[in-house]
Subunit: 320 residues, 2 copies
């Protein structure tokens, strides 16, 4: 099958997607992080998480977005850290974040109270109500330990352009540690965009009548990532479909096209209790039972467990 | 100018925008809230806040969205409450919220600490670090007072359909209190949508090539709101443009078309320091000076001040 040439994707990236001004600085930070942890004997995983924003106007009022809370990425980050990995967390601004994700659905002010009944007294402290947040002490302690040990490097993106350029920078940064690097590409990336040259500057006026949008296809960045930017790394992509009947076929086709190591395939409605991990040779179903759900087991625990074992074998085979 | 007939907008709403299942229950809650506070001598403002989500597929993976953090709506809600209003806060799920907005940009775990150095000890409390959040005691106290007095009724929407149906329900609920009701329509509502009948069920496949989207125009709900649903209320709409040269003209045209009381007009880049309040007879510029910004004055303080005075006069003129 004729693949788009790598150089053409690189060119497209530079031409049609605005380069974020801080990409060089972020790349240096990621390189230092990867080298530091690899030297200390750790593996490093790059997790991408959350949806991408695709502007319809250059002074953006409207944009196309992808459904993604970032839950899978945020919780996976915690399990990778428990498994001894250092984590670069490349996530959408304001998507779910490791550790804080536990109170993302609540209003924090509902979880706070004054130590004395009279909040007005000047030496009254504001404390967390542990009846509202029973796990807060455990989570805070773990958060502080992880912060102290610098095992988590958070990097934010907002637009598709930022995502693409930062992922390329991350891939180049992680190529320095060879097969010790894993890519866990869980972000929900847009397949479509409007090139900078075709974008109107100002807010599209509704007085012009119905909106006709013509959107180009986003270059398949997995291709240069696997072949060129980080050819020794262990790479996992994600497939989310709403139609279960086409899922496995799409996962297999992705593996054939991009020649990476695994696809985590899932269906929108069942994604929190069921995924399939597909490799060129195998396919494994990971399922949460009712018992698991009662015990608050998360499917990301199983996914990370499966993939860290596979990464182990991959490193051994490479003689790393 | 020939306006779309009200009945046709009502019909379109019912046919092309899925009715949320809880709309009847929410309408009852809003009616009870409005009647309770009006009886107690209070005015009631309905604030809409945040952007709307416009699905491209019925099992939604992709959607069109509008830029809006909900900052203006959330902070205005606080100032309306300080001015003696009761507030129905119809806001986008996870957009900024009154009082909690102050720590929306930070990771809450960075603002918490253990009372003893050893977080593991079983009787250690988790407290807010007031060096990180110096205003927390004041904000928490105010939040608790407002909650206690039930001056704030939060209602969430996510999609455009939910927004439209809930706004209609709110308008009908508030029509029971006549001119004591204000509508402060600050939400960033999409002008375009895909009718349910034309929406694909499943995720659009990128293998089909570039995406051609044809989107219809959203019915102008301000028209039936002013004429039919809440004809005695004081209604303010918002205009956000990126092009300052067309702003005033668009505000004037909106007032002529919909015959409501005021437009708050603002430009994307300067919206936090400058707005124009346009009425059929007047236009007033509200500007934050450098001095104001040094003193943490917010422009919403000025906007709310201007509009509550105008609402006063409006009620007097109506003999309310």
């Amino acid at each position: 099958m004729a693949e788009p040439r790598i150089s053409s994707i690189d060119g497209k990236l530079a031409e049609e997607f605005a380069v974020p001004s801080h990409v060089g600085e972020v790349k240096e930070k990621m390189t230092a992080f990867a080298v530091h942890h690899a030297t200390a004997g750790r593996r490093v995983v790059l997790i991408t998480s959350g949806g991408t924003k695709v502007p319809l106007e250059s002074r953006t009022v409207r944009f196309l977005d992808n459904f993604s809370s970032g839950r899978r990425g945020a919780s996976s980050a915690e399990y990778f850290i428990e498994s001894g990995y250092a984590v670069i967390f490349l996530h959408r601004h304001r998507s779910l974040y490791p550790y804080t994700r536990m109170f993302s659905t609540m209003n924090m002010l509902d979880a706070l109270k004054f130590t004395s009944d009279d909040g007005a007294s000047s030496n009254s402290e504001v404390v967390v109500n542990q009846q509202v947040l029973p796990n807060i002490a455990k989570v805070l302690k773990r958060y502080q330990e992880v912060k102290e040990s610098r095992l988590l490097l958070p990097i934010e993106f907002n637009t598709l352009s930022e995502y693409l350029h930062l992922l390329k920078a991350a891939a180049q940064a992680l190529s320095t540690i060879g097969s010790k690097a894993m890519f866990y590409l869980a972000a929900a990336v847009s397949d479509f965009y409007i090139p900078a040259s075709e974008m109107p500057e100002h807010k599209i006026q509704s007085s012009n009548g119905p909106l006709q949008l013509s959107m180009n296809m986003v270059p398949k960045i997995l291709s240069p990532l696997v072949k060129d930017w980080a050819p020794q790394a262990f790479v996992i992509s994600f497939k989310l479909e709403t139609d279960a009947t086409i899922l496995l076929d799409k996962a297999r086709r992705a593996l054939e096209t991009y020649r990476h190591q695994a696809v985590v395939a899932n269906v929108l409605d069942s994604r929190r209790g069921y995924v399939m991990v597909v490799t060129p040779e195998t396919q494994v179903e990971l399922i949460l039972t009712e018992e698991d759900e009662k015990n608050d087991v998360e499917i990301e625990d199983r996914i990370v467990n499966n993939l860290t074992s596979a990464h182990n074998k991959f490193i051994t085979r490479q003689g790393g």
